[in-house]
Amino acid sequence: MATLDLSAAVSPGLRRRRRKQRLTILAFLSPWLLGTGLLFLYPLASTVYFSFEHYDQINPPTWVGLRNWSYVFTEYAGFWPAMRNTLWLVVVMVSLRVVFGLGIGLLVTNLKTGSKLFRTVFYLPFLAPPVAATIAFAFLLNPGNGAVNTLLGHLHLGQPGWFTDEHWAKPGLTALALWGIGDLMVIFMAALLDVSREQYEAASLDGAHALQRFRYVTLPTIRPIILFAVVTGIVQTMQYYTQAIIAGKVASGVVDSPGTSFEPGYPHGSTLTLPQLVYSLGFQHFDTGSACVVALVLFALAMAFTALLMRRGSGLLGEED
């Protein structure tokens, strides 16, 4: 790599080469530089600006200062439930997904026979389009004639109201998220295969049993991957949208064309999340300012966790960068 040595006095030839090199770099980066400006920085700045305006997308906007902010935080009924749901999903869904993903990864890497077949089986649901998967789950879990409750009935077990009972809606969504564990399984499998066999053998010779080997050999090696899975999981869960809105729509039985009158969160606001609030405020109620406030709360939360991933030594960007 042509490194730039800035210390020495440079000949005109070298300077020309350097300028050419700089132009090359700019040329290579140009699509993304434009994109960052037009599709990230500009709309982000606009979101901040709109959060101080009252704008119904028809009449010209008017400046209202912090009114949208105080409205969202103190008066608007949807905000805190959406926050609480998001927090619930982050804590329960993310931790279960990481534990389950690691468990399946461990299981599959230790299988002696048919491991390829099992890997495929565990991976496939991850690929199911979210809308299709959610409609399928809402059907299979529906309390009246869904296959799951029918089977639970045959086993003389309780038959929860899944997506119709506010206490069971989020667990239902969590079951759906666990079904789509394939991505985490693959990431953990790759990490587990990287753990050195010699360390395992050395630990065995020292008399460590399986649990100790996991605790003292496996876990320290895969710690960066666990951190990665937790942080990306948190950020993904903050974006949680499609599954929650579809489950609510299917379970509530709205029959109108989508995107019109369905208020997300069914039942009783239990599946309302921040991204749905942005959509509902911005595109159903045309309250642009309040929608932008919620969007910025979402942004602040997501970036706080992303910062964790970008810390030096977390391994994501590589040590030398």
């Binding site: 290579f28 002696k112 693959v186 990431i187």
Partner: protein, 299 residues
Amino acid sequence: MASTTAPLRTVPAPAAPAVRRRPRSRQQTLQWVALHSLAVGLALLFVLPFVFLLLTSLMTDRQALTTDLWPRHWRFANYVDVFHASGFLTWWKNSLEYAVLGTLLTLLSSIPVAYALARFRFRMRRLALMVVVATMMLPPQVVIIPMYLVWAKQFHLNGTLWPLIIPMAFGDAYSIFLLRQFLLTIPQEYLDAARVDGCGELRTLLRVVLPMAKPAIVAVGLFQFFYCWNDYFGPQVYASENPGAWTLSYGLESFKGAHHANWNLTMAATLLVMAPVVVLFFFAQKAFVEGVTLTGVKG
């Protein structure tokens, strides 16, 4: 398993396992049985939703409303009805257009950026990387409102999928990040050799790097394809007012709404939306798995 790093061991290597062979092999059999029964049980749980979907999709609409799990009459005509009863072919065409154009534009714009971030040293490189990761992690809802206003009010492109396709010509953070992770692993010697042979950066990228990065490019392309194919939020925001621009993911939801009592048709439609994804997976299994692996950092 010949251990190469055992200078302290005075006993010859094969002797150590010999002591434990007998008890260990019984334990291993037990372990084999335990692990495989666990795997079979879990695999059943993972497969059952697909099985129930398939069975329901073959029932009559009356039976699909009952608690029956097994079709009494196998009604394969449901799959034909799905196509008759909806804009399925239009949605299919729109999804394909969105996914194919989106993927091509993403690759075209993201590859040079990933190459620059992986291979050039420049001031602000770390900052650039941080911005890539930040945009990768950015919930799309954060910037949707100004974006919508621009596309709808300035360009009058609401009711089409163009507001979703055009931005992909400006690089996609997730693809840039994955490609960069892969390009970092290409040994510097190859690039130096190309340079000695008088290749410019562009030629080096096209002739040397691209052929070596083929698996990563395929993986990123597939991911982008499925991102578009599965996208619900984007089409909901931009295309909902115009049924002619609906995609499969979006249309499926309205199909469910319009046929709310016909679970058999809904399940047939659902399987038809899942099918292309599953078929592509069996053709490109390796690329998928490699792609996901690239996401994770090296431990």
